[in-house]
Amino acid sequence: MLTRLKTQVPLFSMNSYTKLGEKLKLSGLSLASTHSHVIRLGRHNSKMAVCIAVIAKENYPLFIRSVPVQNELKFHYTVHTSLDVVEEKISAVGKAMADQRELYLGLLYPTEDYKVYGYVTNSKVKFVIVVDSSNTSLRDNEIRSMFRKLHNSFTDVMCNPFYNPGDTIQSKAFDSIVSAMMVQAS
């Protein structure tokens, strides 16, 4: 039934959601002239993530990086709204079994262009990975392993005695791990 709901989407309402999509991408400098600023991603080279974010326990970003740098704000919005789902999932799981909860949250929500995946550490730090929705080659397992890698690197960052928990992450090692996971902007 659920899959039915999802597959129905592209079949049925292509027209409306591209329209909506335009709205969602409003992000230019002036309010009125935003429509021309829509930047489409190249769909050819999309093996990996297009945006990776680390969000603190208190839900503010510690690190956020996206591949099309020009339209970073769009990803800010995407990741920001995904926090609603993350919070909901955490609270839902928290009730059931706090100890054995899985860190990987799975697909948070699909947008018209992207799929948003979430992961939450035991200390409630959230990782969000956004991948291109046309990217069908990416399996759930690969996403999991990306998150695991990210988590390991984040642990290293936290181990740095000079890193003040709660500050934005500026570690080069972390940066390079993230870069390796991202689509190389062509």
């Binding site: 989407v9 309010l31 009125a32 429509h35 609603d84 789902v85």
Partner: protein, 967 residues
């Protein structure tokens, strides 16, 4: 059907639709007053039955939507109430015609109609008609509600008869095929005799009867009919109607499970329902009384004489869907609707209804899936207004399920839609209003106080963007005051997050806006009551510390000793207590030791720096104070780009006495004036902000006849207001004239002069400083501007007998002192001392070796005016520095035997080093006049016991004399 009703909810399926419309010219406010009274009759319990009829009123309804009335009966307009004004009997026929025209619009579906006529009196009004009610005026219509209730009852009768009609229609007659508008052409030429077609007709009719039962308040019957309809329609794959039957099933179950309704508190359309909600919100699954009765007494319905064709084979308890099932069935139903392009509105509405149900069930994740689906439903070409409505409702629903960020996102999209370039008249006002509503979703609050706590944490990029949009929207709205406020907020709270380029841009636009509308500290109130608190720009410049400065030494007030002790003892009954009276941490309110004086300029030093990448001009920077009337003297400053800490002194004059509290400071930057209070700036270091201002005191200025001293007195604990220096020969007297001028505004009433000699190592003969105060005191009180003079005699008489090194130097020239027993121990003692002296810096020049210094401080205590009454005084201190040179040297000492053996003559060679004539007197009063640079040899008689080499000499001039002392 193109326009969805986003406010619909599951329980609307049990309502009957009544349209209330004005006919002819009816003032809008009057119409809505009547409309409101009519809508208060939302629920009518029908006489002689346990049932309730629920009514949904609309004042606007598309006839196009009415055509879907067979599909879902709650979409069918069954009642019409027209409201009209009719002034005279002449107009009556015309009005009546209009009413009939209006009836024709919904004609096919109407069960009944009413006309409410206002303003008509007389013959016509006296007729008793059921379909028309006459009232003299809009204010005089007490029984409108009663009328409406009667009307609803008549609708119920029709509804009930229809229901019975259809339900009992068991005859072999052909059941008509109900269909939705877009299906009509599909059935042309279809074989009406086929089994498939018949089943289709049966299923649709069953579903229709289910709808009617639901409306008529027979929930259980409705459930049964829906179940049967589902069976029938599923077998013939009639998906659209199957979807409708499933949805009907869901609606009935929802009504059963959630008697409080699912519309949410916000709608408040139906007061009776809203009231029910309040009670039922927590109790959850409390059943509706009516429904319960049906469960308890299954025979109740038939006992009423309404025979229902309920198939008893389906158990009643099973009929109702469980909460889980409701959602499953909704999903199924929606997926069936999704197969039909023309049923988009139905699908969308079903989604919305399901979300409301899920919100009550608190199944947030599933609700978000439904919403996600609703986002993608295509309704063809939407008008801009419909888009705005759609985004707004999405936002509202996301808010309902607690997804505040999503909600804010869609609200913002709606706001953007209001001003889309395709709209000829962009609704900036609406855009602004919607944007403001998104603030909580982005965890922004327009009160800068929330940001002053610690470093800012949030989605800076998104927040900055939103603030920019607010600024832009408010500007386009034509309210530059709001733009200035939002820009100030942006600058104040996001300063650290802006790039240099952005900082420049923001400040430039801020300056542009403030040229039209200067920013201030008043609270801006929006039309809808939202208040925008003022934003003080406390980061332009950033103040690091605030330090209150004491008055200059000469102006500091002092308290009379006796009075001070009185003060201390009054604070506490204990003479000594180890408990510290003031609480720690309250540093800001801590009182400062020193005092300020009314009428005198007081200073506060701020350490500021400019965080901007360009020069910052701060104008009208002044102090904000409380407690005392204070005249702040504002300063203007210009801070270089990214300056380091920069001291700024703000000055002001207290005009009254009391405790003054320095609360903060006032600035004007980029045309925005701000009052920055220190309470709100925890990063500012301060050593206390409360200081006592004492009543005014006179001020004295001191001038002297002698030149000012270049070098201050060496070891002085107290600071001096001024000092003079003079060079004198030993024994010389100099007059020093001191002029004291009253430069303050108070009369000088008392004056005391004291002096204190500083270095007491030297043995001083006689009085160093002497004066006569009588004359000066006689001139008191001294008016402002007047002056008084005081003559001080400076007289130096020092013992130079310790300066033997000169003597010794001379001895080394070959002048013999051999055979003088008293001399040799002297030499032995003195020699090492000469060496140590040579090490000292002052004696590096042998010329000054013999110069001695004498220092004294003269203190002028004075008081007057109101300050004197309070026991305060001021003092001036004058340092007097005198370099004393010896006037005579004893260059040679020798002895001559005297006539008696117990005596001898002591011969001294005296050298006058001055340029004046001097008189040397010894104890035997043999005066000796020495001319400049003359050497004489007086013989002094000396007794063997204690040789007094030096007693008193008045020295005038420089020469050498021989002096014979007889011992």
């Amino acid at each position: 059907m193109s326009i969805p009703d986003y406010m619909q909810c599951a329980e609307d399926h049990q309502t009957v639709l009544v349209v209330v419309q004005p006919v002819g010219i009816v003032p809008e406010d009057e119409f809505f007053r009547i409309y409101k009274r009519i809508t208060s009759v939302a629920q009518v319990s029908i006489r002689d039955s346990q049932r309730n009829l629920y009514i949904r009123y609309r004042h606007h309804y598309l006839p196009e939507n009415n055509e879907w009335g067979d599909f879902q009966t709650h979409r069918k307009v069954v009642g019409l109430i027209s409201v009209t004004t009719c002034g005279s009997a002449k107009e009556w026929p015309q009005t009546s015609d209009r009413f009939h025209c209006q009836k024709d619009v919904f004609g096919a579906t109407l069960y009944d109609s009413r006309l409410l006529v206002f303003g008509l009196q007389g013959e016509i009004a006296e007729q008793q008609r059921t379909d028309v009610a006459f009232y003299p005026s809009y204010d005089d219509c007490p029984d409108v509600e009663k009328r409406v209730e009667d009307f609803v009852e008549s609708i119920f009768i029709v509804l009930e008869s229809k229901r019975l009609d259809r339900a009992t229609d068991k005859s072999g007659d052909k059941i008509p095929l109900l269909c939705v508008p877009f299906e009509k052409k599909d059935f042309v030429g279809l074989d009406t005799d086929s089994r498939h077609y018949k089943k289709c007709c049966q299923g649709r009719m069953r579903k229709h009867v289910g709808d009617l039962c639901l409306q008529a308040g027979m929930l259980q019957d409705a459930l049964v009919h829906y179940h049967m309809a589902v069976e029938l329609l599923r077998s013939v794959n009639d998906f659209l109607w199957l979807g409708a039957a499933l949805e009907g099933l869901c609606s009935a179950s929802v009504i059963f499970h959630y008697p409080g309704g699912t519309a949410g508190k916000a709608s408040g359309r139906e007061p009776s329902l809203a009231r029910g909600q309040g009670q039922a919100a927590d109790t959850g699954k409390r059943h509706r009384p009516g429904a319960q009765e049906v469960l308890i007494d299954p025979g109740a319905l038939t006992a009423n004489g309404i025979s229902a064709d309920t198939s008893s084979e389906i158990g009643r308890a099973k009929n109702c869907l469980g909460p889980e099932d409701i959602i499953e069935k909704y999903k199924e139903s929606i997926s069936y609707y999704g197969k039909y392009k023309n049923a988009g509105v139905i699908e969308l509405e079903a989604c919305v209804k399901a979300v409301r149900v899920l919100a009550i069930q608190k199944r947030v994740m599933e609700a978000s899936e439904f919403l996600q689906n609703a986002v993608y439903i295509n309704l063809g070409q939407l008008s801009e207004e419909e888009k705005i409505q759609r985004y707004s409702i999405l936002s509202e629903l996301y808010h309902l399920i607690g997804f505040h960020r999503k909600s804010a996102f869609f609200k913002r999209v709606a706001a953007m839609q209001c001003v889309a370039p395709t709209i000829p008249e962009p609704g900036w006002r609406a855009c602004y209003k919607l944007l403001l509503e998104t603030l909580p979703g982005y965890s922004l609050c327009l009160d800068p106080k929330d940001f002053s706590k610690g470093s800012h944490r949030g989605w800076a990029a998104v927040q900055v963007r939103l603030l920019h949009e607010l600024v832009y929207a408010s500007r386009r709205m034509g309210n530059p005051g709001l733009s200035v406020r939002h820009l100030s907020f942006l600058l104040q709270t996001m300063l650290d997050l802006l790039s240099d380029q952005e900082k420049k841009e923001v400040t430039q636009s801020l300056e542009n806006y403030t040229s039209k509308c200067p920013g201030g500290m008043e609270v801006l109130t929006l039309p809808d009551g939202l208040k925008l608190p003022p934003v003080p720009l406390s980061k332009l410049p950033i103040v690091r510390s605030v330090k209150l400065l004491d008055l200059p030494v000469s102006l500091r007030p002092h308290k009379q000793k006796g009075l001070l002790e009185n003060n201390l003892s009054s604070k506490s009954p204990f003479i000594y207590s180890p408990i510290i009276m003031h609480t720690r941490g309250e540093e800001r309110t801590k009182k400062i030791e020193f005092r300020w004086v009314q009428g005198d300029v007081c200073e506060v030093q701020l350490m500021v720096y400019n965080p901007m990448p360009f020069e910052l001009r701060v104008e009208h920077m002044g102090l904000l104070t409380s407690g005392v009337e204070f005249e702040a003297l504002p300063a203007a400053l210009s801070l270089p780009a990214e300056s380091g800490l920069y001291p700024v002194t703000l000055v002001g004059v207290p005009r009254t006495a009391g405790n003054i509290n320095i609360n903060g400071y006032h600035t004007s930057v980029f045309g925005v004036t701000s009052d920055c209070l220190l309470d709100g700036l925890p990063s500012v270091r301060t050593s206390g902000c409360v200081v006592e201002v004492i009543p005014s005191l006179p001020r004295l200025q001191l001038s002297t006849s002698l030149p000012r001293s270049a070098h201050p007195l060496r070891p002085s604990k107290e600071e001096l207001s001024s000092s003079v220096s003079v060079q004198l020969f030993n024994g010389e007297t100099q007059q020093l004239t001191i002029t004291l001028e009253n430069i303050g505004s108070e009369d000088l009433e008392t004056l005391e002069v004291t002096s204190k000699t500083c270095n007491t190592k030297e043995k001083l003969f006689g009085e160093f400083l002497s004066w006569d105060l009588e004359e000066a005191v006689s001139q008191l009180p001294l008016k402002p501007g007047q002056s008084v003079t005081l003559t001080v005699n400076v007289k130096v008489r020092l013992d130079f007998s310790g300066g033997e090194n000169l003597l010794q130097d001379l001895n080394d020239d070959g002048i013999s002192v051999t055979g003088l027993p008293i001399s040799s121990p002297l030499r032995q003692v003195l020699k090492p001392r000469a060496e140590t002296k040579a090490l000292g810096s002052e004696s590096s020049k042998t010329d000054y070796n013999h110069v001695k210094t004498l220092e004294a401080v003269m203190t002028f205590k004075y008081s007057g005016g109101a300050g004197k009454v309070e026991g305060y005084y001021r003092h001036l201190s004058l340092g007097v520095h005198v370099d004393v040179e010896p006037s005579v040297f004893f260059t040679r000492v020798s002895t001559l035997p005297a006539t008696r053996t117990r005596q001898c003559h002591l011969l001294l060679d005296v050298f006058n080093s001055t340029e004046h004539e001097l008189m040397v007197s010894a104890n035997n009063n043999q005066d000796l006049v020495l001319h400049p640079s003359e050497c004489q040899r007086p013989a002094a008689g000396s007794s063997r016991g204690e040789p007094s080499l030096y007693r008193s000499m008045s020295l005038v001039g420089m020469n050498t004399s021989h002096y014979v002392l007889s011992i």
